[in-house]
């Protein structure tokens, strides 16, 4: 793969309800900020990739509506309807395809619709949708299966909430910085067993943007480029009942491909920090298993042993993760931005010392049907 890099980035602060900003404001604000960050102007952008979802936006062909705010006038624009990590991968492919410097911008205002109704819409309209299942209740099925299979306790996964909300206190963009204990999670409102309110990510508003460029353009960027060393995605079956929900096969495959591309043979040794898409507490250990950081069923031990805390060997979600801010679609792009900040040494209070190689991860579809894995590096 040719050398390509992230040369500009920006994200909004994530909030429960942004009554002062509409989609266009969010997209314009992050696009402008990403250009400033890169030291470029809109004239330097050749392609625009927007990331949005029609159901969340409450309009059809939602990608086209934000073109003007994304600087797409007189340029090509295309939209990825899915998580921002996948949108960014498409953007990277535009650059690799020789189409020039590419802006990827994602937005979502969860506050303006009804997330349960919207996520119910991702299920099969004939066989599943009328049962009322949604993102939370389907994930609860997965959580229960995972806990049952490996004898993991609700307290084990509650620790993820404690860690990540605690990490969020160091992140000025996070929505839910909190000092909580396992007992707070355990006694929070029951949603769908084993998930309680504090096992679940919040409804959020926010946007994020990155600029991806080839090596030549990266040379004139205002800040050190963050090099893209590996990226891959892989999908599992659509119907929940077809899958082994406790075995993230598609993540394992995506990770292996991304590692191979980046020349990583021992991810635990070579990767210094990870930002992964834990929309619910149980997802963090399960995805860490899929990423090959431990054996199946051992995910919770990584946190119990202090491996994934800020001062551990592999800090996971220093930003506070998706549990601390979940602008849907934006969240995977935010993971990439957080890793890029780590590798630039600009992550402030959430900086992991000596981070040279990082992993960012996004998911798409119910219960992590599809996974996207990014390996980013300080070195070319």
């Amino acid at each position: 793969m040719d050398n390509i890099a992230i040369i500009g980035l920006a994200q909004t602060r994530y909030e429960r309800r942004k009554k002062d900003k509409i989609f266009l404001d969010l997209v314009y604000e992050t696009t402008t900020a990403a250009l400033d960050d890169a030291g470029l102007t809109i004239d330097d952008i050749d392609n625009v990739v927007t990331v949005s979802n029609d159901f969340f936006d409450g309009r059809t062909i939602s990608g086209m509506a934000v073109g003007d705010a994304a600087g797409a006038y007189d340029k090509n624009i295309s939209t990825v309807e899915g998580d921002g990590a996948f949108g960014a991968m498409y953007g990277a492919m535009r650059v690799l395809g020789g189409a020039g410097t590419t802006l990827v911008v994602a937005h979502c205002k969860g506050s303006e619709g009804d997330t349960a109704t919207i996520t119910n819409g991702m299920f099969d309209p004939i066989y599943q949708r009328h049962l009322g299942i949604n993102a939370v209740t389907s994930s609860a099925i997965q959580a229960n299966a995972y806990l049952h299979r490996y004898g993991i306790t609700e307290q084990d996964i509650a620790m993820v909430s404690v860690k990540n909300h605690g990490n969020a206190k160091n992140n000025p963009f996070a929505q839910l910085p909190m000092d909580i204990c396992v007992d707070d999670v355990m006694t929070s409102k029951k949603i769908a067993d084993p998930l309680k309110l504090l096992d679940c990510s919040p409804v959020s508003d926010g946007a994020a943007a990155i600029i991806i460029a080839d090596e030549k353009t990266a040379g004139r960027a205002a800040k050190p480029p963050v090099w893209i060393k590996g990226m891959a995605h892989c999908a599992d079956e659509y119907f929940l009942g077809d899958r082994d929900l406790t075995n993230p096969r598609s993540l394992r495959q995506a990770a292996q491909k991304a590692y191979a591309m980046a020349g990583i043979t021992d991810p635990f040794k070579e990767i210094h920090v990870a930002e992964i898409y834990e929309a619910f507490t149980y997802m963090e250990p399960l995805w860490l298993e899929g990423l090959g950081f431990c054996e199946p069923g051992q995910g919770p031990s990584l946190l119990k042993d202090g491996v994934t805390t800020m001062d551990g060997r592999l800090p996971v979600n220093p930003s506070g993760g998706v549990l601390s801010a979940h602008a849907v679609l934006v969240a995977g792009l935010a993971r990439i931005i957080e890793i890029a900040e780590q590798l630039r040494d600009t992550a402030g209070a959430r900086q992991v010392t000596g981070a040279g190689m990082g992993l960012a991860h996004g998911i798409n579809g119910p219960c992590g049907q599809s996974h996207c894995v990014w390996i980013l590096s300080k070195e070319k």
Partner: protein, 153 residues
Amino acid sequence: MPNWVDEVEPMTFKGQIAVPYTWWVGDTGSRFLEAIRDQATFLGTRCPDCDTVYVPPRKNCGRCFTALDQWVEIARRGVVTAFTIVRANHPLQPVKSPFAYALIRLDGASVSILHLITKDLARLSIGVTVEAHFKEASQRTGHILDIDHFQII
């Protein structure tokens, strides 16, 4: 710089998108729903390459990418492979909480079907046997909710 919301009232605009659809269910789905409506039975399709029996039936095996045309009759009984007991209510849920969503592998099927368990939730666990309870024949319309619920036995 003062925030504009201090100077101007932030206005909202309510919308409601109600877009009607009429989805043809297709031959595979129509056979499945007709069997539920008329016989209160389940039909699945078997993959000739990997022997996976899909319920609800699929027209091609996702794993082998093979067309499926072998129909198999599936039992009304099966085991719970995964579940959650729902504690919160939402208007789209067809019953009031607490109730359970369960993935149920019916005898004769290789994969699990998603449905509801509404009673005896204290006895619910992974591995318990459940049986489909259908609505009265006169009430059945060829709908996934023609199966009223699954009962733990």
